[in-house]
Symmetry: C2
Subunit: 249 residues, 2 copies
Amino acid sequence: MMKQNYKIIVSYDGTRYRGWQKQTNTGDTIQGKLEALLSRMAGEEVAVQGAGRTDAGVHALGQTANFRMDTELSDRELMDAINGFLPDDIAVLSLKRASERFHSRLSAVGKAYCYRIYTGNARPVLSRRYVWNLGRELFTERMEQAAAYLTGLHDFKSFCGNPRMKKSTVRRIDSVKVWREPGEDEVRIRFEGNGFLQNMVRIMTGTLAQCGLFERDPEEIPRILEARDRSAAGPMAPACGLTLMEVKY
Amino acid sequence: MMKQNYKIIVSYDGTRYRGWQKQTNTGDTIQGKLEALLSRMAGEEVAVQGAGRTDAGVHALGQTANFRMDTELSDRELMDAINGFLPDDIAVLSLKRASERFHSRLSAVGKAYCYRIYTGNARPVLSRRYVWNLGRELFTERMEQAAAYLTGLHDFKSFCGNPRMKKSTVRRIDSVKVWREPGEDEVRIRFEGNGFLQNMVRIMTGTLAQCGLFERDPEEIPRILEARDRSAAGPMAPACGLTLMEVKY
């Protein structure tokens, strides 16, 4: 008989970690932490499959993963047991039995990310772990103009951080919203789409920031997409400003 | 000739500190850090006077302080020099020359505090250092009713954490706003008034939370105020949820 398949929603502060994905020789990844913990609880190896690999330093409010396990515990008891062993910068927010066929990555139909940029000229002490401290004013209207060009079905090869990417680099971006947080020196960008390439959100953010700083014109975005060349796009924004908000099924 | 008087606005993450006020035998206070740093820069002892003492673990976005110093540096250079030596959880947001008579505490006419309460049933990973993890739903309408009774000029002795307080415990609360953060499992309370007694914001918050949890009726607030007895009010809410937002002059 197959083991029970569980779907979990995980939140983490990525500051201390080398990203989601387990590394061959280190335990400082979110996947590695969860697998070590669940394997200890189950008395055998448990594999945890995440919906997406977040880079080192990137945070999550709604990363989704699944794993298979047999246990006598109720869902609530299992979730509480896992949370009881996790450090305070990782938490399971929800745990549910999923159908045998549920696969956190393959079943996903969309993802949402939020990127936070501090634009003031002081230091953002209380949000320092969660924002890119740009320290300069951004013209959000120009960023919105640029964002409109990114929306839709495009080949995002110019925005892919993996130069050896063999598979399709075509993705659909459903929306890119840019706004200034009321009463704060902070600009936020929310990206929603059917999938994102490696570093893609951070490269899009770096390129949008160039537009907001008048270092690049929004009208250049179509040419950047056409180039299918990483060097045509802007720099990659820092990991700490990025949070994976939600995975949609 | 008198030394130049400087007014600074300071932000800090209180998590690692024993509060604002310098202790006799430890350096882990914000005032202690600033005085040690400025005294080293000046080559003589510099006293830093804060507008209010925040408790251990309480944060600040707009603590205000003043100190006297002679320097050839411009205001911007002096601020940058100070920030260059401060750890990443303390920052000077603004530094200006003030009149000889300016005194951060005695010249203050009001203060604003914000208290954040997490009401969800998961763990608030990304805001964990800045919220009270109550983990239960709050009925904000009841908290607003209770808050209305606190507003105005009252003797707040029942809400004072110092049992040996000799001076007047009369303060004027200008407004107490209670709201749910849109899209988040979080209730926030903003207090504005001409001054606050020791632990007063935390005791008011603990009492408002009791009302929001149906553990106490909002109509009890007038009786609590009349009692002039700490034991009549509710428990003190944790320090980590509180942030000093602004000092008004």
